[in-house]
Amino acid sequence: MKIRHLAKAFTLAATVAAGPVLAADDEVVIGLSAALSGGAAGTYAAPAEGLKLYIDRLNEAGGINGKTVSLVIYDDQGDASRAASNGKRFLTQDDVQLIISVSTSATFAPLISQATRQGVPILFAGSVCPAETMPPAEPLLYCSTGFSSVHDSIAMVDYLRELDGDATVGFAAMGIPISRAGMEEAERIVLGADMKSAGVEIAPPGTADYTPFATKLIQNGAEAVLAWSPWSVQIRFFDALRKQGWEGNAFVGHLAEAELEMMEIKDPGLYTVGSNAMIFEDSKATQDLVAAVTESGVDLHPEAIVDGWLGGIVIEEVLGKLGDDTSAEAINAVMSDIEIDTRGLRGGSIKWTENNHFRETIYYRVYRWSDETGAMEIARDWKAYEVE
């Protein structure tokens, strides 16, 4: 149980209440549509907060190149219709130059359709990357997170082969398009690599009991299971497998909840494959992040805000390269040709080109719980994958 934090309330509420924001010359107006409340808030509220924290610090330090960032935050509750309204409001009322989305995949379509028409770029900074950001990328859509169902699947299968090339692999997906697409792609990769598949199990969103799904995977001979969906679903799948005495290895996406949960589950057979660094490593980058969170006094788990924090870094870099023209086109021009140092929170830089708004090279790391040390460990360090 987590008691809600009032400090956060005041800061966010104040921004929301400010109403229409008109851009001054030395100001860049950025709209943030985030699932601050509602069912998905458990995943997205923290990164949104992290992003805001980063921008606040930027502004306190005098902005970038003399420009301050005015962040307009609206809650979309992870709901498509609310996101559509937010998009309209950003574009017609607040005249934002850039939109950031930290929300569910359900909110992508409305935001994209609103923003692309107005020529305003969108940065997806907390969620899975929409396929439209990958080569051949649609103009205006960028993604700074490491989540991509297809690329995560490639990395998962690759690591799985290193670990046990003969394993029969089962796939656990949730009945939302993006998760299904990822796992079916993963199955194709597995079959293409001459490995055996135990099939893709898709659980509808209203699933009460994951046991029957797990049973089917086990009976199909799954020795390893890949899962890629919201954390709550992939972890329930994993629970259901273990409850039936299944002893194979499971590979799941590295989501914001992963680090804390894995430290609680303490199961060395549960691997996360993802592109973010974990906080327990205590690297320079994570130390900065933890220090910032502590200093702000906001009650947040540092590991949950990594993506938002990175979103802040991206904005800093983009605005740093921006000249006097702070229009949406100018921002888009900068974004479509930039390389951003992720300062150790990722394996390498984020490089965007005209054709690729995801990144040219993505680095994956694998984590798991180690029984020997009684702590989290890096199962395999950064490995680079080219994005084609």
């Binding site: 809600r4 509420a13 409001r89 379509a109 994209i112 398009p177």
Partner: protein
């Protein structure tokens, strides 16, 4: 016996569709002129809310006719809207069809689905019927999801603004006027129907099916007719929703949406078309009002992360309050207020 237990009869002591309702012609004209002037002063955000209200109003009018007038409860209203939105989205995506094809197609699709899901109403009543309409929701969402997935539209189907006589309907003001006209048209059409043989037949079968049948009303036919017509309208409003929001995805049509529509007709006042409009306004505004409260009264101890749950809770509470204390809804409150004022002014006139 049956009229109180099968129907929603007792919730609704008012019938506001008859002539008396629109009696004050100047007031209506004044209201219309006022509404027509709104876009000149409103911010784009407010226009967006108004447009959402208009779309909701069309859906609420349909549900009011089905449930409030004809007494057939439906929990599948969100599913019907999804059906309309998907018909439009799929037609547009697959064939690039224009609004003159997609909208009628959506109405027809809705009407056909309405016919199919109206069939159980010939055997089932009340709660059982509600449950069979719930199935409608799951079926439509399942089919829509399968299409989205099969067509690779993992984030949803995108729609370009509709083109009407060479004019692209995109601007917030243009949408406001277009939707305003459509709401007025729907209201007018529904009100005409209710003041005709068809509407009276619906009222009769709502009150007592056996008695209605003995008066010559072909109950089965009129029940199905109610389902077909209102489903067509609901589907139409779903298609408008798709165009207005420029996208279609299953995630936009939740079960909660169906409940919101039920809430609109309860809160507005069962049996009254004007009530449906009031309910649509009220229910659409609740979450915004909650957020506004949170912003302006920070000492409530609520923060933005609770916005959605707080408006959920408030919404449930309001529904309960209306059901328990004000079963005649907003329209009932309105009528009492009007009655009090007019009786007061009469008294004053006498003095």
């Amino acid at each position: 016996m049956s009229n109180t237990e099968t129907g929603i009869g007792k919730i609704a002591p008012v019938r506001a569709v008859a002539k008396g309702d629109g009696g004050n012609r100047t007031a209506w004209m004044g209201l219309i002129v006022l509404l027509a002037l709104v876009p000149l002063v409103a911010s784009p955000f407010h226009l967006d809310i108004a447009s959402q209200i208009f779309i909701a109003a069309i859906g609420a009018l349909a549900l009011m006719v089905l449930t409030g007038i004809a007494g057939q409860i439906s929990l599948g209203h969100g599913g019907l809207m999804a059906a309309g939105a998907f018909t439009t989205g799929i037609l547009y995506k697959e064939t690039g069809a224009g609004i003159w094809i997609t909208l009628p197609a959506s109405v027809v699709a809705g009407a056909v689905i309405g016919l199919i899901f109206g069939l159980p109403s010939l055997r089932l009543r009340g709660v059982y019927l509600a449950m069979s309409t719930l199935a409608l929701h799951f079926v439509v969402i399942y089919l829509g999801g399968e299409y989205e997935f099969a067509s690779g539209a993992s984030t949803g189907i995108f729609l370009d603004p509709p083109v009407i006589f060479g004019y692209e309907l995109y601007d917030g003001q243009a949408w406001y006027y277009a939707l305003f006209l459509l709401v007025a048209g729907t209201y007018w059409g529904c009100s005409n129907l209710l003041n005709s043989k068809t509407g009276r037949a619906w009222e009769a079968l709502h009150a007592n099916e056996t008695a209605a049948e003995a008066l010559g009303v072909q109950v089965a036919r009129y029940k199905l007719l109610a389902f077909v017509i209102t489903s067509g309208i609901a589907s139409f409003s779903g298609a408008l929703f798709a165009y207005y929001q420029s996208f279609v995805s299953v995630e936009a049509f939740t079960l909660f949406m169906s409940i919101q529509y039920i809430a609109m007709i309860i809160i507005g006042g069962m049996g009254s078309l004007t009530g449906a409009l009031l309910g649509a306004i009220f229910v659409t505004l609740v979450p915004y009002c909650i957020e506004w409260l949170m912003e302006t009264v920070p000492y409530l101890g609520l923060d933005i992360s609770t916005a959605s749950s707080a408006s959920h809770a408030a919404f449930g509470l309001l529904m309960i309050l209306f059901l328990v204390f004000e079963p005649s809804g907003l329209i009932g409150i309105w009528k009492r207020t009007v009655a009090r004022f007019s009786s007061q002014s009469k008294k004053e006139g006498v003095q």
